[in-house]
């Protein structure tokens, strides 16, 4: 393990999340100023050529067309797994078995059994694991958590989550991979894990669900038209212990681009947030004269850590990619043995189980306990 110098990083996959990890590993030291600069040691892609080209672009020292060589590289201390979900389990387990820490994109796996195996490998290895649930890293959502814990809205009794985008909204676009059952259930897992990660952090795990899924376009254009196999819409009523709520998901919602709308209702107030305005939270506190009560829009700023590490003035706006830099810092903290704000494989399993319970609930048209 590298000491006295930066951690050695290996990156598998260079799609969007791969690039995002690379940017985060590049930025974490200059942004935070309190950690050794990670060394970008090894990059793996599906071919040696592509790996070589991406290593140049992203600033990695070595490149391989075979991810197993990266996993075995003694200079690599932590492996970023950013490949398609179906590959997560094999890669993460191999990395853990080789004694590496693992930063894996969400969800853990397509099958619950694979996710369980990943957790097993993590427990056996004792290494740090982290899932890429970056929305929980936003200073805005962190402040929501802090407010809830400080009792600002009293006891939470109800929650609502919506997650909507419109990349599947065009019913005239050709049948594609996201409409094949091999890609998963549809909105249920594709989107569901994100609200679940926020719910997990803000309130706790889901205990009971009833789900309904819908296909806005039962067929999509192909030769002769092709039956869609996934559900672009999913609605779930939930219980999370004594807290009731709903999770509404729609990836065919025209006009929604990155909406993750959260409402948390408590005995003394309400919190609201929308990822499309990711630097704002809203809070209503049922205190003081009624004539003065209202939803307060808090713009994140230097008093909402770690915003201050990015910009020294409030209200200037973090971006989506900055969340990954914060995530990288949390992983470095955890590796250093400090408390960290992360969803590791152990917490991640609760999210995967909830998704699979929802799928079963839809199939059986009945309430299912998680």
């Amino acid at each position: 393990m590298a000491t006295g110098r930066g951690l050695g990083v290996g990156l598998i996959g260079t799609g969007y999340m791969g690039k995002c990890h690379a940017l985060a590993w590049n930025a974490v030291a200059p942004t935070f100023g309190d950690v050794a600069r990670p060394r970008l040691v090894h990059l793996a892609e599906s071919s040696a050529d592509l790996a070589e080209r991406k290593a140049g672009e992203l600033g990695f020292e070595k490149a391989s067309g075979d991810w197993r060589r990266l996993v075995e590289d003694p200079e690599v201390d932590i492996v970023s797994v950013t490949t398609p979900n179906a590959f997560h389990a094999e890669m993460a387990i191999a990395a853990l078995d080789a004694g590496k820490h693992v930063w894996c994109e969400k969800p853990m796996a397509t099958a619950l059994a694979d996710a369980e195996a990943m957790l097993g490998a993590a427990e056996k290895s004792g290494r740090v694991t982290a899932l890429g649930y970056n929305y929980i890293q936003n200073p805005a959502t962190r402040h929501m958590k802090a407010l809830i814990e400080a009792g600002a809205i009293g006891t939470v009794n109800h929650v609502r989550f919506e997650m909507d985008e419109d990349f599947m909204a065009d019913g005239t676009a050709p049948f594609g991979w996201k409409s094949q059952k091999e890609s998963g259930y549809g909105a249920l897992d594709d989107f569901g894990v994100h609200p679940l990660s926020l719910l997990h952090v803000l309130v706790g795990p889901v205990t009971e669900v009833i789900a309904d899924c819908a296909m806005p376009y039962p067929t999509r254009p192909a030769a002769g038209g092709r039956a869609v196999e996934t559900h672009d819409i999913a609605n779930i009523l939930i219980h999370a212990g004594a807290v009731s709520g709903s999770i509404l998901l729609n990836r065919s919602a025209w006009g929604r681009k990155g909406r993750i709308a959260v409402q948390v209702f408590g005995s003394e107030g309400t919190l609201a947030y929308d990822q499309e305005r990711m630097n704002e939270i809203q809070i209503y506190e049922a205190r003081g004269p009624l004539a003065g009560q209202g939803f307060r829009t808090i713009l994140t700023g230097t008093v909402h850590p770690p915003y201050d590490k990015f910009i020294p003035a409030p209200g200037h706006g973090l971006g989506f990619n900055d969340l990954k830099v914060i995530e990288a810092r949390e992983i470095l903290k955890k590796i250093a043995g400090e408390p960290a704000h992360l969803i590791d494989f152990s917490a991640g399993i609760a999210i995967e189980r909830a998704v699979h319970a929802m799928a079963r609930s839809f199939a059986e048209r009945a309430w299912v306990r998680v």
Copy 2:
């Protein structure tokens, strides 16, 4: 029946909705300028004294402590029924039997059988009936309907409704009537009928439901604490034919004062609306260059009828009470044999049935067909 002059109005009840009816009957002729001024003939309240006082305030000629005298008054052509829900059926049926038109506040009745009896009386009498679903009268929601019918958002495939207020949000307030089962199910019927009226008008009737209800405060302060019997929160997943959706209701939602948030998703766009900003609708149309697409906030104005009857300049804002004036005008149209935009007892029954199906679904923890 009055001819050549204004219709004779009878008003039973002078609580908020009674006052609102009286204001509407006062304002409908000067506002619209195309109808004979209704004559405020007869007002009934629970005592002769109260009736007398209110008749003076609201401008009615006669006053009775017994509503049956009003119903029998030959000068009365139409009866406004604005008493508590439990009295609607008896009064409406008596008025219809006496040959009067009836404008009755929603919901029709507390028991489904009573509502069915009201419909029976209406059909037998041939008189005009109207339920006070005033939100459908808003030029904003009417424009949404017009846009949907014109295909602005293509084929509707999904809907979301939220209705939230906070009058039950204070768990430290004393146990009151709204927490007794005699008042109904709770949010399910107290709030549910409003989104259902909008859904009915915008999309059509609900066909299948699964409901979950919750009590944010299982007990409320009384001597020794008293168990709450109604559910201040209700969440319902729905099907309305091929359209899927959700109705989320919360009357203990701190900070929400008159929120009725609507989202209608279609194959070519999305509509959104919130009653707290009742003069605005939002539309996303998936047309033209992608770089220019976005939600457009339309402020209602003189081109959104009948806004122009109230104010000759756009964007100046109608109020809640104005909606009732529009409703009164629609009733006068219907009485005159013209097409009118109203939920009559026949359409109203569909709403009542949906509410009762939701209640059954919650009790049985299962999907229920309406």
Copy 3:
């Protein structure tokens, strides 16, 4: 003077503001429930026929084609003057001289000398006068005033006003009356009086100004094109004692329909308001932990008088026309010798003087003291 029964009302003019006065006189008693119902005695229009027809529509007993007969009618106690601005002075003075109270639409007159004469007549008569500055009647703006007076934002040090509509925004529309100098200066007086009325109430009178006016369309379509004589845009920097600020006016602002945006900055906070969302105010109070500070959106409700006289639930929305009902109630208060929230002819003169100082400042390209 009528005693023991409602005040006798005379209405001159039945354009928008005439109708608005009529609706207010109709609604004031049932809405407030604490005043005798005004009697709609006499209506005057430019012809006897029109007067007759409008009297029927609006509910007036008598009709005249000559406003002088109305002014002399002994049954009339108060005269609503809602004719074009050029007629205000003659009518208001005649009514005052005849011992009537006067409710006159703003501005007072087109020439400052006429306004001064109106004030003279008012002082001589001792009757109640009121100018139709209805925006100051909004429970939202009243609450802003209350907050300022209670010190919620500390000492006011700066203000910004914007008033924008788009009825002159179409440069391809034919040359019309609003482009003729006979109509006034343009945005400067057409719009300027509204922000000035709010400024007057919230902060105090303007003491020094520098103005700039602009013509977005120097010519407008007519045979051969016609030179525009008024300025659709006006910007004014102001001092109101120690408070600095700006008033920006644009009646050719595409998309703005009824925008009157107000920002009031103080030593301990900021207030903001926009008439297009007339049921909301925003306040930032620099108190408590910085991490929790933000602009709070207060929806007007029953705790913001006299909202409660219109609707018994908060957040349901007043409309523009409701403001006129409140204004009518204030006038009745003042006539009854009670304290009232009104801009009378005496306060109105300050607004007229400010407008004329702005016009001079623009002509001279220099600061002008009011």
Copy 4:
């Protein structure tokens, strides 16, 4: 000059903007993927120790306590000047004289003569110069520019700019450097250059101004209280050729954290933007049926370059720091001889001249031509 490999970067100053430049130089290659990775060659700070420490944090190879050594370093191709404004001129001129490209933070200098000297050095050297006006790099403001150029809002006739923050809003905070005249005029130059940069890019240079400045707190706490020498508030009416407008500046505006509100009015529409919601623009286009017109909120996305280089999904949000990465890419373009979107020293002089004309206008209480 480095060829076949990344440009050599020298960084003078490591305050916020220094860090921001370092992050940008780190991120530009992995983000854009089409440029050679710049080499972080040399960092200079006020002491060797500080330089050494910061070089480690920010990833620079060499460190100096004397910026002149950096300027002379043959491995350095471009110098980032991020020191206090008073040092810009000397450093930038030395770098240009040494044949380096210069990326200098705004404003150019505290005295106009210094800015003119900088321009002279730039012209003599033939090197690339760029000022750090990062707000013009936002895909949102770039899209506004593209829309204006495409005629989306017709001919621009009026503009409004507001820039507000609250770091000087607390009148009880001790007298500090920003209240000393050595720091400049106050809001006029501290803030004014930002709206001017946007105005310059969107509309063109200012030609005539009248300015008013104000001190919300004439004295601030110190021993015995100390007279403030700068103006935290500045309002300016402007002409930019045929376009009229206003620039309102307030650095004591409680609650505003990073507000730069822009309104651009044209003959066929209106554009609006607020930096506090930096991923959104609003456009009203006066086209199509009036009933459907409204302000459209466009969330920036992959179709608004170069957003796509950061995130492959729309609506996910860029942050303030990302703007600097775009700026770095533009500089690399310009060095490579490609067209670039930048404010160089030549364009920057127009902004500096406008600021100084405003200051003179305030002193003379008169309109001043730029």
